[in-house]
């Protein structure tokens, strides 16, 4: 039996029990008993801080997730520099640039959505900014569909049907493998983001958000901006490195 009276055998130098119990923590702020306060948090500030920190930590994991792909990109571009330029030259810079602008604008509308919730704007205003964000997100995915279809019709999808007429078929196939993995994973994140936006748009319409509670909008906003930033790196690494290919030949 573990000894019930252990301390009798080993009195030891025990003084001052460390915890003063029975005192209720009086740290409740002006938002005490807010209907959206979960029971295990002391106040709304703690709840908001926990949620935003949680999303930041999640975004760190996302950086590492995409990081593995960027590492693969780095290694294969270093091994096949010319092949990557040749392959990149076949991507459509115009649509890539359009999508970059579309995403940057969607980040602006997202920031406005967060701002409108923080400043307790009318639900209608909040919904407007959120819908605008979803609109631009959908446009981005639409353009992606056009681009992917083009790659399918031109046999640029890696695998048994891959056809490359240029000088470096092996390197080009790896480039397109990475292109589809990276932009595909990014598009998946966009789709998840659109799902999140749909939920918070419904909540916003019901008037859930105001200056005292806007955590879901803030947290979704952080996610949306992150997905945008990933694209800001993907665009030059995939679309622009072949810009001058052939110029010196």
């Amino acid at each position: 039996m573990p000894s019930q009276s252990h301390s009798e055998h080993f009195p030891g130098p025990i003084h001052n029990p460390p915890v003063i119990k029975g005192e209720v923590h009086k740290g409740h702020g002006p938002h005490a008993h807010h209907p959206k306060l979960q029971h295990h948090f002391d106040d709304m500030d703690q709840q908001l801080e926990a949620s935003t920190l949680g999303m930041w930590v999640f975004l760190v994991t996302e950086i590492m997730f995409f990081g593995g792909l960027f590492m693969a990109y780095l290694m294969y571009r270093w091994a096949n520099p010319t092949a990557f330029q040749e392959a990149s030259a076949h991507l459509d810079k115009f649509w890539g640039a359009v999508n970059t602008i579309v995403l940057i604008v969607s980040s602006l509308t997202m920031a406005m959505a967060v701002r409108s919730a923080q400043t307790s704007a009318k639900p209608k205003t909040q919904v407007m900014w959120l819908v605008a964000t979803m609109f631009f997100g959908t446009v981005f995915l639409g353009v992606k569909v056009v681009e992917y279809t083009d790659k399918f019709t031109h046999n640029l999808v890696p695998g048994p049907n891959f056809v490359w007429t240029g000088q470096y078929p092996a390197g080009a196939e790896i480039f397109y493998s990475l292109y589809f993995c990276m932009t595909g994973l990014h598009a998946l994140h966009m789709i998840i983001g659109l799902g999140m936006m749909t939920v918070i748009t419904v909540m916003a319409r019901r008037g859930t958000f105001d200056g005292s509670y806007y955590t879901p909008v803030e947290v979704s906003g952080l996610y949306w901006h992150f997905v945008d930033i990933v694209w800001i790196f993907l665009f030059p690494l995939l679309y622009l490195i072949g810009a001058h290919y052939g110029a010196g030949h």
Partner: protein, 533 residues
């Protein structure tokens, strides 16, 4: 008449499967990892039975490959990685920091369901024929060469990785934002520090192995040439990406066990920990340095010798924070009022076995010697000393130490001592001969070997049977104690810490009122008298 605790606050299967209480989720994890531990042990049993004789007579080489692969996959991803964090960490961290729950209770429950889903995938793979790539899923075994169920098993690992990520995320936010008033960082129990460092590895490393496994699946299904040389890829990239996570993953297993040992040596030496801040920072140091050593798995994979030198040097550096901990535990025990209850036996076992495991790690990080012992049983023995001798001894020690808190019951201490000694003896008999066999040249992952190595293998298999009995014993007396054990007081060991201030078992919301902390939570002596506050 029973007082209301988390155990009887709500009845029925639904109150458990839909619970958001961190303590109940910890028990869900406890039951499921115990099941996976048994399954993983079963696979190991076949490996040890096959190796009793030099000839490959019990299993075909293909079946043998599947046995050691499934043993590794199940033990690493479904037992060792979640063991201490998801069970003991989940149960104790909120209580140790004076909080009602983790920051995200629903995400905590979600992580368990993700874990179960990942487990289901892996078990499907096992039942439909298994995987034979080794737990490392090395390409091209896993891409071009294997005909086994790589995708299902890999997806299982991919999915369960997210449960680990969510647990780490939850711990980090909880430790940052949920500490009781007055509980500053340097008043935190070392168990919490160890879990903070573990969580950092979980969130930084796991996503990388997730994407790596996804790329293997893409290569197998879509025939994209990421790792296949015939398509222009490079299989060594897989090894880099894989070990970038999987080496730090070893520290996911060992750091929480170190946290457990830090708690136990204080409680059973009746002394404040020696060198509190050094132990706290050494956890972080191990987490950070652990990310810079993966190249020591690639010494013979064609890595440049200069890269090898640097990885070798950084690998040696890990010994410093590890030794700091070991010396500080020893200094804590020194001149303490030591008592040898079962948790202390496990903790002392940990210190000894971890020392052997750590020192043989230095052999392996020396490039010249590694070429001799690479992929031999020496390596197998080394990492079992860390993972079994270290992580599982820590897990069992912690489970015994906090069992009265978790269940509110006392277990049969006599049997517990017997089991602890059996585990220690059985473990050493199993794995010490493997150092010798490996040094003599026995390669890992072969189901036949030259007859002159038989004596070491017979010793090893004999030890494994003692070890197995040592693991079954706690299952029996701990389960028995849940129903028939004597009721435990709030603090049966006379230990210090917030978790011993609340009733055993604790009420659902842990604390009647948020505690206010005025000094370190583990004061066995007033500040400044013995050890460091």
């Amino acid at each position: 008449m029973e007082t209301v605790s988390y155990l009887n606050d709500g009845h029925g299967i639904k109150s458990w499967l839909l619970t958001k209480d961190h303590k109940r989720i910890a028990l869900l994890y406890l039951v499921s990892i115990t099941a996976f531990f048994a399954i993983g042990g079963l696979f190991a049993m076949f490996v040890r039975l096959e190796l009793l004789t030099p000839a490959g007579d019990l299993l075909s080489s293909e079946t043998y490959n599947k046995m050691f692969t499934m043993h590794g996959v199940v033990m690493v991803f479904f037992f060792l990685i979640p063991s201490i964090p998801a069970v003991l960490g989940n149960f104790l961290i909120p209580i140790m920091i004076g909080a009602k729950d983790l920051a995200f209770p629903r995400i905590n429950l979600l992580s368990w369901y993700i874990y179960i889903l990942g487990g289901a995938f892996t078990m499907t793979s096992a039942l439909s024929g298994g995987v034979d790539t080794g737990w490392t899923f090395y390409t091209p075994y896993s891409t071009a060469a294997a005909n086994s169920h790589v995708i299902t098993a890999a997806l299982g690992v991919f999915i369960t990785g997210f449960s680990s990520i969510l647990t780490g995320l939850n711990f980090i936010v909880t430790i940052h934002r949920m500490r009781a008033p007055g509980l500053t960082w340097f008043r935190l129990p070392l168990f919490v520090w160890a879990h903070y460092a573990t969580s950092l590895i979980m969130i930084l490393g796991t996503p990388v192995v997730a994407i790596t496994v996804l790329l293997v699946a893409a290569e197998r299904v879509l025939h994209m040439g990421i790792f296949d040389p015939s398509l222009g890829g490079d299989p060594v990239l897989f090894q880099h990406l894989f070990w970038f996570y999987s080496h730090p993953a070893v520290y996911i297993m060992i750091l929480p066990a170190m946290g457990v040992v830090s708690e136990i040596v204080q409680a059973f030496s009746r002394k404040n920990i020696f060198g509190y801040s050094f132990i706290a920072f050494s956890s972080l140091a191990i987490a950070v340095i652990g990310f810079l050593v993966w190249g020591h798995h690639l010494f013979v994979a064609g890595q440049s010798v200069y890269a090898g030198l640097i990885f070798s040097f950084i690998s040696f550096l890990v010994a410093i924070p590890s030794a700091i901990k070991t010396f500080n535990w020893t200094a804590t025990i020194y001149k303490g009022s030591i008592s040898y209850e079962s948790p202390m036996l496990y903790a002392l076992g940990f210190i000894g076995l971890f020392t052997i495991g750590g020192l043989t790690g230095l052999f392996l990080s020396a490039m010249g010697l590694d070429i001799h012992v690479h992929d031999t049983y020496f390596v197998v023995a080394h990492f079992h000393y860390i993972m079994v001798g270290g992580a599982i001894m820590g897990y069992l020690g912690g489970l015994h130490y906090w069992w009265p808190k978790i269940t509110g019951r006392l277990y049969a201490e006599g049997w517990a001592k017997v089991a602890a000694v059996m585990v220690f003896v059985g473990f050493n008999l199993t794995f010490f001969p493997q150092f010798v066999a490996g040094y003599l040249g026995m390669p890992r992952r072969y189901h036949e070997y030259p007859p002159e190595l038989q004596v070491w293998n017979v010793m090893s298999s004999a030890g494994a049977s003692i070890l197995a009995a040592g693991y079954v014993l706690p299952l029996v007396y701990l389960t028995y104690s849940m129903f028939a054990g004597e009721k435990s007081a709030a603090d049966p060991w006379g230990a210090r810490g917030l978790e011993w201030e609340v009733p055993s078992p604790p009420p659902t919301s842990n604390f009647a009122a948020t505690p206010i902390i005025t000094e370190g939570t583990h004061q066995y002596a007033p500040s400044g008298e013995v050890g460091v506050a």
